[in-house]
């Protein structure tokens, strides 16, 4: 499991360039361009279960959801950041991609540290230190539990 670490204000153009927004929508189309202008090595080397660490305001900019679809598709287990831009945050909830807001974990992490994630318990361990992170409000957690917003919507409509 590798930790991919980036800085502050990583915007959606860096995660997925705007020039592909209207020609790539499926995970297969998105994958080769994922993080293309931020880290050209990422898409070829990322493995299922890897983590992505970042600074503040991760995912700012456009409402395009290819970054979330792409990161979910390549198997990023969770993103850990100081803060997230709101549209990206909603988009991640809607796809069931786990976002963890935890500045302490970002401060503590050094290259090579072991990272362990306890999603149910709401804690993340960096080396010897363990930090807790806030969970989503229960109403919103339901969306993730259903497997994403569309599945949640289908269930609501069928049970209406």
């Amino acid at each position: 499991m590798k930790v991919w670490k980036y800085g502050d204000d990583i915007n959606t153009d860096m995660l997925f360039p705007g020039k592909y927004t209207y020609s790539c929508s499926t995970p297969e189309e998105i994958r080769p361009h994922l993080l293309e202008d931020l880290d050209p090595d990422f898409s070829g080397a990322v493995q299922e279960g890897d983590l992505l660490f970042a600074g503040k305001n991760f995912g700012c900019g456009s409402s395009r959801e290819q970054p979330v679809l792409g990161l979910k598709d390549v198997g990023i287990k969770a993103i850990v950041a100081r803060s997230y831009a709101r549209i990206f945050y909603r988009a991640a909830i809607n796809q069931g991609l786990l976002l963890i807001q935890c500045s302490e974990a970002i401060d503590a992490f050094k290259e090579g540290d072991a990272v362990n994630l306890d999603i149910e318990g709401g804690t993340i361990s960096i080396g010897e230190s363990t930090f807790s992170f806030p969970k989503l409000p229960p109403q919103i957690l339901e969306i993730s539990k259903a497997g994403g917003l569309l599945q949640y919507t289908r269930e609501k409509l069928r049970n209406a």
Binding site: D13, G18, K56, S63, A85, A91, Q139, L150, T153
Partner: protein, 421 residues
């Protein structure tokens, strides 16, 4: 204790007496805006649409603007899919390629009303705060779910109060004000917040307010909103909308704000956002002399009649510098035609401007006016992210229309308050 605009409108729309920041509420937005991404959105729910249909056919507003006219087979298919969807499901608010940029067209068609909630699968949906609407961007999947179910959730935001005094000086624009604010508070300075403008807003036209609200997302805001006043009512009346046909909602005078900022408009000066972040803002004076290959006048931030007019006044009888190029995209067909009638287009073209059809154009790097490595562009758009205009080795600087026009004559960054010869 009084309530903010965001708290009042979310309480009213969710049918509750009052709400507090952090609370989750469920609302039925009056409108859902989608554009070229309609194709991808309906593609996610092809079978669901057959099973459930569109919950509220009067809610969706579809405006094709991002890659218009189509640049290739793929974008042409996107447009075709959107047209067919609108026809099949009786979406009456459908506007085809050539009408203009979605945010401008939605306002011109009288679909953005005070006291309403508008969401859109475009981050600049926050623009309608100019008219006292609660409007914000969402992703494609949420747009798809809204088509099926007609409702969504919001977390009631914390609010920031921005009090304005004074009046903007000549050749200094609303863009300079909003870039100044973003430079001060940072690209996440208003993250998740409702930014509410108070004080001397009367001197700001609806177009000025639109520019400011449009850039709300560049400071991380959920919503950026203005009070409804005589300027708003006159604008809506010009669209044939009487003030009896909408409800006005605004913050109480004793509302509790998370943060308060104040700006003296008369002290604002021309500024420019340097690459590659919108909050990397410096004064034009401190940045003067940077040479540019391309100048870009347009977008949902600054492609309106007052923007084109301000640029044309500066460029009238002058020429764009040799070895530079000026690209102009009116924000809508209506803006384009008014600019033709006023002689603005002729002035811009004679000065060397290349006039492109109304739409988003090169703003997101999908077509029309992309940059080459090592090139620099001075743009009236809202984002200068690396790679934004199609090339990660190019640099984008952001400024107001006056600064772009004056600089286009010189081929380098100059202060629009000084005569350029």
């Amino acid at each position: 204790m009084g309530k903010t605009f965001a708290e009042k409108i979310l309480a009213a729309k969710s049918g509750q007496a009052e709400v507090v920041p952090g609370q989750i509420v469920v609302v039925k937005p009056e409108h859902l805006l989608t554009h070229d991404n309609t194709a991808a959105i309906v593609g996610k729910i092809k079978e669901d649409l057959k099973e459930f249909g569109v919950a509220r056919p009067d809610m969706p507003v579809i405006i094709l603007d991002h890659v218009v006219p189509a640049a290739n087979e793929k974008t042409a298919i996107n447009h075709k899919t959107a047209r067919e969807f609108a026809k099949t499901y009786g979406i009456k608010n459908f506007y085809d390629v050539g009408e203009g940029i979605c945010h401008q067209v939605l306002m011109e068609k009288g679909l953005a009303l005070p006291g309403t909630i508008i969401v859109g699968s475009d981050s600049h949906t926050c623009s309608y705060g100019a008219l006292g609407a609660f409007s914000t961007g969402i992703d494609r999947t949420e747009a798809a779910a809204l088509l099926l179910r007609g409702e969504t959730w919001f977390k009631v935001p914390e609010s920031i109060k921005v009090t304005l005094t004074g009046k903007l000086p000549s050749k200094v624009s609303a863009k300079d004000l909003v870039l100044t604010i973003i430079g001060d508070i940072g690209a996440d300075g208003a993250n998740y917040c409702s930014v509410e403008f108070h004080g001397a807003v009367a001197s700001l036209s609806i177009e000025d307010r639109f520019t400011i609200a449009n850039m709300g997302v560049e400071m991380g805001a959920k919503v950026a909103a203005f009070p409804i006043d005589e300027v708003t009512r006159e604008y809506l009346a010009s669209l044939g909308i009487a003030d009896t046909s909408y409800t006005t909602v605004w913050a109480d005078s004793d509302a509790s704000y998370d943060r308060e900022l104040s700006y003296d408009l008369s002290a604002i000066e021309p500024v420019v956002a340097h690459p590659h972040k919108v909050d990397n803002v410096k004064t034009v004076t401190a940045s003067a002399g940077i040479a540019f290959n391309q100048f870009f006048l347009g977008t949902c931030t600054n492609g309106r009649l007052s923007d084109l007019r301000a640029a044309a006044e500066i460029l009238d009888g002058k020429s764009v510098a040799e070895e530079s190029r000026l690209i102009v995209l009116p924000a809508s067909k209506e803006v384009f035609e008014a600019a033709i009638d006023e002689g603005i287009i002729s002035k811009l073209s004679k000065a060397g401007g290349m006039i492109l059809p109304p739409g988003c154009g090169p703003c997101l790097g999908a077509h029309q006016g992309c940059l080459a490595p090592e090139e620099k562009c001075l743009s009236t758009a809202n984002r200068n992210f690396k790679g934004r205009m199609g090339c990660k080795e190019a640099e984008i600087y952001l400024a107001g229309p006056e600064t772009v026009a004056a600089s286009a004559i010189a081929g380098k960054l100059v202060d629009p308050r000084k005569e350029v010869v």
